[in-house]
């Protein structure tokens, strides 16, 4: 061609529906920032995560140090001064534990369980969905029937049965959550990949005799990941809720590592006698955490999903 290269340009914006562009990171962040509620939620989330991360430095007491607990400080109202001097800003529980410290540490456990369970479930589900959609045939049937089976039962019921078989423990709660949650990712991933695999760049790759594993991991996976990431943010919140529920019901984390759910449970019996703070403040922390994760997740979905722009 004698012609010199054309100047690089982006496509003109027309009224025709825009071609689905990959939203870039900067634009997503800009969109997140542009909404006050989402911004507030994002700030709350950052504060909560930082608080959990730096709990050992922030907490006035070490709630795990049984020796430091004084039974005489039990069930003190918020703002009461302890016998040793420091003020219990959020009161104490029936063991005399400082609620503020317990909440900070509880937040840690809840977040660890929520994030690691989600990461594991998303990874397993994504790969299973990818495999089912790309390979098809018997593999697809097997995976998707298993998915249907798992999603056919109430989540909490499956988790309860699993945990009553395995017993309490942070690792066991995570395992239970992964088992009930991977199926959702698999279903979403399969749908996305089925659409993506029809695109011509996948045909082109096949026409270059690119091996199947490479088409799946290099071509399909990165292009089908956006919905998974959005769902995962919301699923972190539901994993935290599930863990709290299980712990509240007494089959979740052990008493030695109290999560927010277990803290709520521990104050439950005193709720009606007016000592609201033992359940209320951990509950409030849980609500704020879950709510802000969901708001950020919703906003994320809006910025990724072109139909909702």
């Amino acid at each position: 061609m004698s012609q010199s290269p054309e100047p690089v340009r982006s496509e003109p914006v027309g009224l025709a529906p825009a071609i689905l562009e990959t939203p870039n990171r900067a634009r997503i962040l800009a969109r997140l920032r542009s909404r006050p509620t989402a911004r507030g939620a994002a700030i709350a989330l950052v504060i909560l995560i930082a608080a959990a991360l730096f709990a050992p430095f922030l907490a006035p007491h070490d709630p795990y140090d049984l020796a430091a607990l004084s039974i005489f400080d039990n069930r003190l109202a918020p703002g009461t001064q302890s016998m040793d001097g420091p003020v219990y800003w959020l009161g104490t529980d029936s063991q005399g534990r400082d609620m503020l410290s317990a909440i900070l540490y509880g937040l840690r456990i809840s977040l660890v369980v929520g994030l690691s369970a989600t990461a594991a479930a998303a990874t397993i589900g994504t790969l299973m969905g990818l495999l089912a959609a790309y390979v098809g045939g018997a593999v697809e049937t097997a995976i998707m029937r298993l998915v249907d089976f798992i999603l056919g039962f109430p989540t909490i019921l499956v988790a309860l049965i699993l945990l009553s078989a395995t017993g309490r423990g942070v690792d066991k709660v995570i395992l239970a959550i992964v088992i009930v949650q991977w199926a959702q990712y698999a279903r979403i991933m399969r749908g996305t990949v089925l659409v993506e695999a029809r695109k011509e760049y996948v045909e082109a790759a096949r026409n270059f005799a690119i091996p199947g594993w490479r088409i799946m991991l290099v071509h399909l996976l990165p292009n089908a990941l956006a919905p998974i990431l959005v769902v995962a943010t919301v699923q972190v919140a539901s994993a935290i809720m599930l863990e709290s529920t299980l712990s509240f019901l007494g089959v979740g984390v052990p008493i030695t590592e109290p999560s927010l759910g277990l803290l709520i449970a521990s104050g439950f019996e005193y709720l009606l006698s007016g000592e609201y703070w033992i359940s209320f403040f951990p509950g409030l922390a849980l609500v704020v955490l879950v709510f802000s994760i969901n708001l950020v997740g919703d906003r994320l979905r809006e910025s990724i999903d072109p139909r909702r722009r």
Binding site: M1, Q3, E6, V8, E21, F208, I210, N223
Partner: protein, 374 residues
């Protein structure tokens, strides 16, 4: 634009066009790629839900899309063959089957005279790489998350076709060949216009040194002024590289311009085939005549003809007999019952129409397929 020399040397009207008459045929004239009795059908496998409904008495939907039905088509080296038809005629499926993307339901694809299903592993890879596709949609045909360098160089790297250190050079050479600057290699597809993306797609095909390009509506999605650029690129590449093309398009004006030989498809079958100029100036099938009348012509003012009537039937349920008979102004009783065979009608030309063979019918009627100017 000479072609079809096989035929000129052996003007045997009964021999399939361009198929080497025997093993002794000169190697140059043997087809590089050939479809023989090719059939491709798509049918839905009944899933569990459908089987359950079947138990409850609902019949299983076993409808089959007859995408390609019994197609014979041979392409000689260096030839540009146009494959023309409207939506649902199976032209894209035929192109993909020839490129090896769709295994045939029946019949064979022959590459350099050998059925593809009998190729060894190494031969199969050579065939796959030597027959490349250029796609219609410049957006969907490039992976949005891969740079131009990754896209164009992928096959070279995966199959070890070039030493690691040379891949970047090979990519740049391929980009230069399609008129793109080497500095574009590190960019992503969304930074390019439609025409530029189509060039990237062509560069990706050229990188593996193909012999044959199956171009599936390669300019249909481009702006008019950019279409000419890409068409010229194809013509330049043909000259420089001696490429052979199967050019799939619904744009008859374009096909007439660049193709040596043209096959017209209707509902999965080739209804007419022959040298481009002869086929367009003197159609031997009423459907071809109807298409030729619709070639846009900027010299023609104010339409004054009655177009062919009717809709394209669904490939799920093609009409019996000649698939074109419900729309054909010349349809005779025989057309409703017997499917006409694709048979030679003149030197180098085949058509599937009863007007050529039925007693009392005259192929001269074909010229009057579209309404006379009023």
């Amino acid at each position: 634009m000479t072609l079809d020399t096989t035929h000129r040397e052996a003007p045997n009207l009964d021999a399939p066009i361009l198929e080497a008459p025997n093993r002794e045929a000169p190697i140059l004239e043997a087809p590089i790629l050939e479809a023989r009795g090719l059939v491709k059908r798509f049918s839905r496998k009944p899933d569990i839900a459908m089987r359950l409904l079947a138990l409850a008495g609902r019949p299983i939907d076993r409808r089959t899309v007859h995408a390609v039905e019994d197609v014979d088509l041979a392409v000689a080296p260096g030839e540009v063959v146009g494959l023309v038809g409207e939506s649902g005629c199976g032209k894209s499926t035929l192109g993909r089957a020839l490129a090896g993307l769709h295994p045939p339901t029946d019949g064979d694809v022959l590459y350099r005279g050998k059925p593809v299903r009998e190729l060894t592993r190494a031969e199969r890879l050579a065939y796959t790489l030597e027959v490349q596709l250029v796609f219609q949609d410049p957006y969907a045909s490039l992976n949005p998350r891969r740079t131009v360098r990754q896209t164009v160089g992928e096959a070279l790297a995966v199959h070890g076709l070039a030493p690691r250190g040379e891949i970047a050079d090979r990519v740049e050479a391929a980009l230069a060949e399609v008129g793109l600057d080497a500095s574009y290699a590190s960019r992503y597809p969304h930074e390019f216009s439609g025409g530029q993306r189509q060039r990237i797609g062509i560069a990706r095909a050229l990188a593996v040194d193909p012999r044959f390009l199956v171009c599936d509506e390669p300019v249909a999605a481009l702006d008019v002024s950019v279409q000419a650029q890409v068409v010229n690129l194809f013509m330049d590449l043909r000259e420089k590289r001696g490429l052979t093309y199967l050019f799939i398009s619904h744009d008859l004006g374009l096909v007439r311009h660049i193709c040596d030989r043209v096959a017209i498809m209707y509902l999965g079958r080739i209804v007419e085939e022959g040298p481009a100029q002869a086929l367009f100036s003197d159609p031997q099938h009423p459907y071809t005549a109807a298409l030729v009348a619709e070639i846009p012509d900027v010299r023609r003012r104010k339409r004054r003809f009655t177009p062919i009537a009717g809709e394209i039937p669904s490939p799920l349920a093609p009409p019996p007999g000649c698939a074109f008979h419900p729309r054909c102004p010349h349809a005779m009783p025989v057309c409703r019952e017997t499917r006409p065979a694709l048979a030679p009608v003149a030197v180098g030309r085949r058509a599937a129409c009863h007007l050529h063979t039925a007693p009392g019918a005259s192929p001269a009627a074909i010229a009057t397929t579209v309404g006379v100017p009023s």
